[in-house]
């Protein structure tokens, strides 16, 4: 069994950072990631179950880590060495128990909700956020029974998805995958849950104009979430700025009302908002803007697209950015983050809350999001896989994942 492992090795991080100047993922061969013989992690407790990965996606945050571009904010929320991979569909060879206490038979496919909050850390009573279902906001990510790690895939004790050896999944993390979903569908559940959480927490209202900046995995799943999860109760118009032709096709098919190249997004929003333009900025604009990129440029753009008192939702993981906040102050904008998932309020007052993952599982199935998986690589070809993921949009791809089902490896 093999696993890709990230070690604490400063020179290799520096080398990866330098190489990534040529393109994200370019530093895979000289960076902190190494393909090693895998050892399954110890079971941290009886409520943990081994999950043998089938597919594991490469996320933008993984690339940022391997490129040495991650914010230092996360330094204490990671423990080395760790096996990356938090977008995982796997199989419970020995069975287990899911987040709701249901028994899962041996051979059940499952996905993990990777946040390592109070429950996996055996912290009783849970923190306020975990207690109210917002596990993504847990304040104990470096405490309790586990080494620091904000998610599976960044914690040395749990293992991760980029391995043919099982990772350890806490019962609170497990969600069975319906038979109707393919492995490709299932590996999209985690990023889709991020999008669902962003969409549902964005306060999009009936008749709103919504702009989505970026159409990678997060942008496209956000479009899908807006279409299928938000629109039934808050019909809205969704305009997407997508750089690459394949992204534009997918955004349109997932429910965007209008998809334009990025340099046309401001004009498209302006026209739909009936806005004037002052000093290159819209006087009106979109009610809500989702930034699904997370760069200085994309956040700056989002701030120009939104109307006064509108909301900019950061869905893509930003690092240290340089942004002129004068418009935020002057136009009384709300800039809000949307990280991970937890519980989502019912659309109707008084209805039951649902785990974000449950909503995402439904959405992945209904929208057929497995089609966003563009390429599968065996672990041995991780350098190619990371370069492909780093240039996904340009190469007509969306989600690139590791295929851990076949020891011989294949791509498609």
């Amino acid at each position: 069994m093999k696993a890709l492992v990230v070690g604490r090795n400063l020179p290799r991080f520096v080398a990866a950072r330098v190489a990534s100047a040529l393109g994200s993922g370019r530093g895979a061969g000289i960076g902190p990631l190494q393909l090693l013989d895998a050892v399954a992690p110890d079971r941290p407790g009886d409520d943990w179950f081994p999950l043998r990965p089938l597919l594991s996606g490469i996320c933008g945050s993984d690339l940022a880590t391997l490129d040495g571009r991650t914010s230092r904010y996360f330094e204490d929320l990671v423990s080395f060495p760790f096996v990356p991979g938090h977008e995982v569909v796997g199989v419970l060879d020995d069975g287990g128990t899911d987040h709701a206490g249901r028994t899962l038979a041996p051979g059940t496919r499952a996905v993990i909700e990777p946040v390592l909050g109070c429950a996996p850390r055996h912290i009783r009573p849970p923190c306020t956020q975990c207690g109210s279902g917002h596990t993504g906001l847990c304040g104990n990510l470096a405490s309790g029974a586990l080494a620091p790690g904000l998610q599976t895939g960044f914690c040395t004790d749990t293992g991760g998805g980029w391995s043919t050896a099982p990772l350890m999944a806490h019962t609170s993390q497990l969600h069975a995958v319906p038979d109707a979903l393919s492995d490709q569908d299932a590996v999209l559940i985690e990023p889709t849950a991020c999008a669902v959480h962003a969409a549902l927490s964005s306060r999009v209202a009936d008749g709103d104009l919504v702009a989505v900046v970026g159409a990678g995995t997060l942008g496209l799943t956000t479009v899908a979430a807006l279409h299928s999860v938000v629109r039934p109760t808050a019909p809205c118009t969704v305009v997407v700025g997508a750089k690459h032709p394949r992204q534009r096709e997918l955004a349109a098919s997932l429910g965007a009302d209008q998809v334009v190249p990025p340099d046309q997004l401001a004009r498209a929003v302006r026209r739909r908002a009936g806005s004037l333009v002052l000093s290159g900025r819209l006087t009106e604009g979109a009610d809500v803007v989702f930034d699904c990129v997370g760069t200085s440029a994309s956040i700056t753009e989002a701030l120009t697209l939104v109307r006064p008192r509108g909301r900019v939702v950061l869905v893509g993981m930003p690092g240290k950015v340089g942004v002129d906040l004068a418009p935020l102050w002057h136009r009384e904008l709300t800039l809000v983050g949307a990280y991970a998932y937890g519980s989502e309020a019912a659309p109707e007052p008084g209805g039951p809350d649902r785990r974000t993952f449950e909503v995402a599982i439904d959405l992945v199935g209904s929208a057929g999001l497995g089609r966003l998986v563009s390429a599968l690589y065996p672990l041995e070809r991780y350098e190619e896989a990371l370069v492909h993921a780093g240039a996904a949009g340009r190469r007509g791809a969306v989600k690139v994942a590791f295929d851990l089902r076949n020891p011989k490896g294949r791509t498609r």
């Binding site: 209008q258 334009v260 046309q264 004009r267 498209a268 302006r270 026209r271 009936g274 806005s275 004037l276 333009v277």
Partner: protein, 529 residues
């Protein structure tokens, strides 16, 4: 020696290559034997004494209208409206005809003791003219006398306070025009009738109208029923304008129409070869062509554009008539046809045309892709009387670089139209139904139209509607040498060479097609028998 009339050349083995415009460049193309090339008539003799001719026209009006001096009296309100930057093409050498005419009108007004005089640029939904453009059109003397005092204004079709609704035609068309013009004791309109389409009731009913009024005839249905715009009696566009013009007349607006025609002397000496027949080129013409072609090929597009837009045409006035609108226009139309008409026997399977750098809507600007389409399909295609030059289901081949490039000051709504409307549909009716109102009422476009130098938000729609007749008639449109992405966005086919285009055209019209080349500019109008 009188100028030679237009000419249709049958291409044979001895025929030299034919000049094709290609935006700010041109090339020589060998046309297949058996092709026809239509050449414009040579420029008519200019009026020997234009000042005297104008004076005569003003004092000897056509139709039921008193001489201008008899219509002028102290205390009256006089408004002089005149054509905007879209005429003539290219802009003419100084003095512009508008200046010559308006100076005499103003002299007569002064002699009559009229002191309430205002000048209005009749720009409909076109962009506002700049000061240098206005000075060029009406001369420094008039500009300096009126502009500083706020007496030279540009028609604002969005200024609700300065519009007046005069009524509805019997076809349910709103007639809403400039209030100052409508409420004047006399409205003098000064035209440059470059083509047969210009002038008549269209001058006031379109040039001084609002969107509310214009939308009744600037729409796909009207344009499809205008076969062609150059033939007033078969043009629904004109029929609607005539209805409106008569309503304006019946509402009590007294119009003193002045129309002028120009000869086809289009290019200065350095570019004279452009209006000559190739087999008659002298050594000077050949050297001129080679030098210009080589220089332009090496010149960045923006410099070539600047060079061409600095060209001033040596057009000269060939006639001037004044008086009652319809009587005046009948004479003008005859004069225009006399200068530009060429009898052509029968239609053709393939019509080729080289598109130049300029159209009515990009003076001092970029011929963007929508204007390329409009110039080819809206204007050149419609330069006919009788039947279109190309048969139904035939192919139109145009040569133009068609860059995906826009002037954001002049054509802001064109950018959005190209990006957002044509990416969804190119069908003029669907374009109108789904998108027109949103663009027409967009506050940003209205702001730019009213305060900057932008065409109105709805203007690109009108350009697309101008193409409606041709789009319905043709089997295919091919652009040679255009930006393929821009060409495809227009819904046309892209070819890299004329030979490729001819091969592609045969897929539509069959083998051994007939081919006719429209050798314009200079402007000509085909009287297709």
């Amino acid at each position: 020696m009188s100028p030679r009339p237009g000419f249709v050349l049958d291409v044979d083995s001895s025929t030299p290559p034919t000049l094709f415009w290609h935006g700010e460049r041109f090339s020589l193309e060998k046309l297949p034997e058996g092709s026809r090339v239509i050449y414009a008539p040579e420029p008519e003799e200019a009026l020997a004494d234009p000042q005297a001719a104008i004076r005569h026209a003003l004092t000897h009006p056509e139709g039921d209208r008193d001489p201008l001096p008899a219509l002028l009296f102290p205390g009256m309100k006089l408004t002089i409206a005149f054509d905007d930057i879209s005429l003539p093409l290219p802009p003419m050498e100084r003095p512009d005809v508008r200046q010559l005419v308006m100076e005499q009108v103003l002299d007569l007004a002064a002699e009559a003791g009229v002191d309430d005089v205002e000048l209005i640029v009749a720009l409909a939904l076109h962009r506002r003219m700049t000061e240098p453009e206005l000075r060029h059109a009406i001369g420094d003397r008039i500009y300096d006398a009126f502009a500083p005092n706020g007496l030279l204004t540009q028609h604002d079709a969005e200024d609700r306070d300065n519009l007046v609704h005069l009524g509805m035609t019997d076809h349910g068309e709103d007639v809403e025009i400039n209030r100052r013009a409508a409420e004047s004791d006399l409205l003098v309109y000064v035209n440059i009738n470059l083509v047969a389409m210009d002038g008549g009731h269209k001058s006031v009913a379109t040039g001084l109208a609002s969107y509310t009024s214009l939308r009744h005839h600037h729409n796909p249905a009207t344009m499809r029923k205008s076969t062609s715009f150059m033939d007033q009696h078969r043009s629904e566009l004109h029929t609607a304008n005539w209805r409106m013009g008569r309503l304006i007349r019946d509402a009590g607006v007294t119009v003193f129409q002045i129309e002028t025609t120009l000869n086809t002397d289009t290019f200065p000496d350095s570019f004279k070869f452009l209006q000559k027949r190739e087999w008659e080129w002298k050594a000077k013409d050949r050297i001129g062509y080679l030098g210009a072609a080589a220089a332009l090929d090496r010149m960045p597009a923006r410099y070539a554009r600047r060079l061409f837009h600095s060209v001033r045409a040596p057009h000269r006035m060939t006639s001037v008539q004044a008086g009652e609108v319809e009587a005046v226009h009948a004479i003008t139309t005859e004069n225009v046809w006399a200068q530009q008409g060429v009898v052509v026997e029968g239609q053709t399977d393939i019509l080729t045309m080289g598109l130049p750098y300029i159209s009515p809507y990009n003076v001092n600007s970029i011929l963007n892709p929508i204007l390329v389409a409009c110039l080819g399909l809206g204007y050149f295609f419609n330069l006919y009387r009788g039947r279109p030059l190309v048969r139904e289901g035939g192919v139109l081949i145009m040569t133009h670089p068609t860059p995906w490039e826009f002037n954001p000051v002049h054509h802001p709504s064109y950018i959005d139209f190209f990006e957002q409307v044509l990416s969804e549909t190119t069908d003029p009716t669907e374009v109108a139904d789904r998108f027109e109102e949103g663009f027409a009422t967009d506050p940003w476009y209205i702001h730019l139209y009213r305060t900057g130098h932008a065409y109105h938000g709805v203007h690109p729609f009108y350009m697309w509607y101008w193409c409606a007749h041709a789009l319905e008639h043709l089997g295919a449109v091919i652009i040679v040498g255009g930006d393929p992405k821009a060409v495809h966005r227009l819904g046309f086919r892209a070819a890299s060479t004329l030979a490729d285009a001819l091969e592609m055209a045969q897929d539509v019209v069959g083998p051994s097609p007939t081919l006719t080349h429209l050798h314009a500019p200079p402007i000509l109008m085909a009287d297709v028998q």
